[in-house]
Symmetry: C2
Subunit: 303 residues, 2 copies
């Protein structure tokens, strides 16, 4: 299968790089790093083995790219409106678009732009950062869960999962809604709270007040998921997420980095849409709604 990568940053650079390094036909869309990667290639430092791609297939415009069987979108969701321009040149009738992005409601919005498009969600559990032009540093984790949103061809899903696994990326197919909401259980409390309290994950869990608040927020997400019909999720999942986070190094989630570097925060898909979906099912998440309001306030101060 031919792959196109839109958003060659910490996530897209790592996963696309792994696929290319394993010999797959991968085509990267680049902006600021185009000239640097053309000269020096793409360097991936990884806890699972570093590698260098001296001559990846790179482009600075989608017009020049070939149609792909799988388009991996790893943009910040704040830029998703660009997809109406970026995707068409890459699509044939059976292209699968995989959104490796955080949040709730992404696939529904992209589907509205492209009603017949085959869509899947990619939930990346990865600590990775772009450390310079053409340079990605993958610190730990890295597995990916893939949830089928609207792909009618199960073989394509299976080949995608197989390609990932064959390239050194642990991948598995999971139920779409369950995957998105389980990811939200971690994302919604930690992304916003590290911004609102100007801190990192470890500090939030060290203090008993914020630890218990984080757990309460996780239970709000779990409550919303259950109200929306997601099975296989209960209180114990919150405790497991907290235990896992205690095992992590002190961590700044992507929203904290965005805030610190004065980039737009992904409030829409991480909070607003999730809250709206929950409301549709008659469920409210008061602490996360408060956190959303605090983030909107802080976002406005920054802008």
């Amino acid at each position: 299968m031919r792959y196109a990568i839109i958003g060659t940053g910490a996530v897209g650079g790592y996963y696309g790089g792994r696929l290319a390094n394993a010999g797959h036909d991968v085509h990267f869309l680049l902006h600021s790093d185009y000239a640097h990667i053309r000269e020096y290639g793409l360097q991936v430092e990884s806890c699972n083995g570093s590698f260098h791609l001296p001559r990846p297939n790179i482009y600075n415009s989608v017009q020049d790219m070939p149609q792909a069987d799988v388009v991996i979108v790893a943009l910040k969701t704040t830029r998703n409106s660009l997809l109406s321009q970026l995707l068409p040149p890459l699509l044939h009738p059976k292209t699968l678009v995989l959104l490796i992005q955080n949040g709730i409601g992404l696939e529904a919005d992209v589907q509205k732009m492209f009603p017949g498009l085959w869509l899947a969600a990619g939930l990346a559990f990865i600590c990775s950062a772009k450390t310079g032009p053409g340079r990605v540093s993958h610190q730990c984790y890295g597995h990916i869960s893939i949830g089928n949103y609207s792909c009618p061809d199960q073989q394509v899903m299976e080949r995608l999962v197989a390609d990932f696994n064959a390239s050194g990326i642990k991948a598995a197919e999971v139920e779409y809604h369950e995957a998105r909401w389980k990811k939200a259980v971690w994302n919604m409390p930690f992304n916003g709270m590290t911004v609102a309290m100007n801190t990192q994950t470890d500090k939030l869990l060290q203090h008993p007040s914020t630890r218990s608040l984080i757990r309460r927020q996780m239970l709000e997400v779990i409550g919303a998921a259950r109200a929306l019909g997601v099975q296989n999720i209960d209180e114990s999942f919150a405790d497991r997420m907290i235990e896992n986070t205690l095992d992590m190094v002190p961590y700044s989630p992507s929203m904290k980095l965005d805030y610190d570097f004065h980039r737009p925060m992904e409030i829409d898909y991480l909070y607003t849409r999730a809250i709206a979906e929950a409301h549709k099912a008659g469920f409210s998440m008061p602490c996360l709604e408060m956190l959303e309001a605090q983030l909107r306030f802080l976002e406005n101060l920054h802008s």
Copy 2:
């Protein structure tokens, strides 16, 4: 009636100063300002007319003070444990102790220390600051509501209210629980939110997200009050508080000043006790409970 003032700061200095300036027998307990006021007196700059007391009755120990008919406590509530030492020398069997302090549960705790004591709550609506040694600046407002907690002698309550009014302080007696909870409707959202968001009242109300969050938090307090049997309070009170605050100059509530100057915050009586009282009535205030957790986290960073 003879008055003793414990806590001669922005609030105690103003109200005690007004009483003394009107000719009442007022005795001030002082600490750091003792030498300065002995030499230069007490200066009160006030929007209602400034005045200077050249030789107020001042003390640096309660042991030297006479017994009083009314003891006005205007300490920060974080120092209320000191009352077990400070009050006894000032008390005769019919002394009324007026707590001009913010929060919920104060009188109950002082009553536990002194079971037979006559207690009342003073709710000060005042913008006032200590601007230097022996110097109080009263910018606006200034009226005080007095709620009878455990004073069996209604005449004493009436004389207190009359003395205030005769001294140029608008005062009125109100129902105790209603007064404390109505004050909490303003205090709980604005004190904590200005700290958590590092801002002032006006900015919180300018942004639609935080304005609606503030209103939601006010409704939580109103819900708690109603669950605890307080009548005469409904949604319209929240809207009135918001309108009043919009009319104020940009304002830093006392907790924000405490935080900025690295003084202890009054989290216990402003949040923890109010939340506990509400829980006793089966009512929870999720957004204010979240705010309490955020304040505990920030307090810990500072200490």
